[in-house]
């Protein structure tokens, strides 16, 4: 029985939201390339390494991790601690690493082009 993928979603998402989501996804993949981490660790690393410029909250991070997990880009491991709730660790899969490489390339090209454009003076045109 055939299924058809719904690619687009609602189509009314703002550019800003898409850009933010895309860049956060790349940021999360990058943090995970340093090694396995659990949610709170990822938040503190993201906030710490960017001096808070990324403004990531738990409410934005976890849906992203959830998506990465569903897409097979990260593996998860539950660790039962002696007390309290079990902790969930995330690590990159092989697919996650190649996605990270692809997104990093794409991002660098885009950022370089934008920087070049924005530094161009009127007389240079």
């Amino acid at each position: 029985m055939g299924v058809d993928q719904d690619q687009g979603g609602e189509g009314k998402r703002s550019i800003e939201r898409e850009l933010r989501r895309g860049s956060l996804e790349l940021a999360v993949l990058h943090v995970l390339s340093w090694g396995e981490a659990y949610g709170y660790e990822i938040v503190t690393k993201l906030v710490g390494k960017t001096n808070g410029a990324l403004e990531i909250t738990d409410g934005t991070l976890y849906p992203i991790l959830y998506r990465l997990e569903a897409a097979g880009l990260v593996n998860v491991r539950w660790e039962t601690l002696k007390r309290g709730v079990p902790r969930k660790y995330y690590q990159l899969t092989k697919a996650g690493r190649s996605e990270l490489a692809r997104l990093t390339d794409e991002w660098s090209t885009f950022a370089e082009a934008m920087t070049r454009l924005l530094h161009q003076q009127a007389e240079d045109r």
Binding site: D6, Y40, A70, G84, V85
Partner: protein
Amino acid sequence: MTLDEYVHEVLAGIPRGARRTQIEMDLRAHIGERVEQGQSIDEAIRQFGDPERLAESYLAAVPLVSASFTRRAVAKLIDFLVLAAAGCTLVISVWQLTGPSGKALFPELADVVSPALIAVCVFLFVLMIPGYFVLAEYLTDQTLGKRALGIHVVRESGARISLGQSFVRQLPLVAEIFILDVLFALFTEKNQRAFELITKTRVVRVDLA
């Protein structure tokens, strides 16, 4: 707000299934991580933001996969077979309890009640068919047939449907325009019936979501 209240509010709009179970486990674990760092439950919860928005973000994170027309048709067939079996059982039981046969449990009721009673049963049953779809889809997101085929009804955002949406979805059945309504599902992008377009609802795969 307690942890349970918060988790409950986030999950309220999310359809039942594996996704919901996972989101609940994740939320509890991640809020737990903050509490372990010495934060209060309230502080931790504040980091996760408005429960309704969080639910929307989770739902938007994974694309929905439309149920194919065939899958939906088989589900509907199962539903009607189950309903027909239930209807026959009902009518036969009433007939046997009060009918004119010598074996009736209440033969004294046979002349007066039986034919009228059967008519009432049939009428009630005809009403019950759309009623079943409305209630089952509102309360559990799926009917028995849909459950068997691993599909369920959601809003276009992926959230659970309201009672009103569930009701309007079944109007074509009552108004007897369901053939026209169903034809839409063959040609629309997300296999939506006309009344699904109106109510902004869809039937999607449970497992692939």
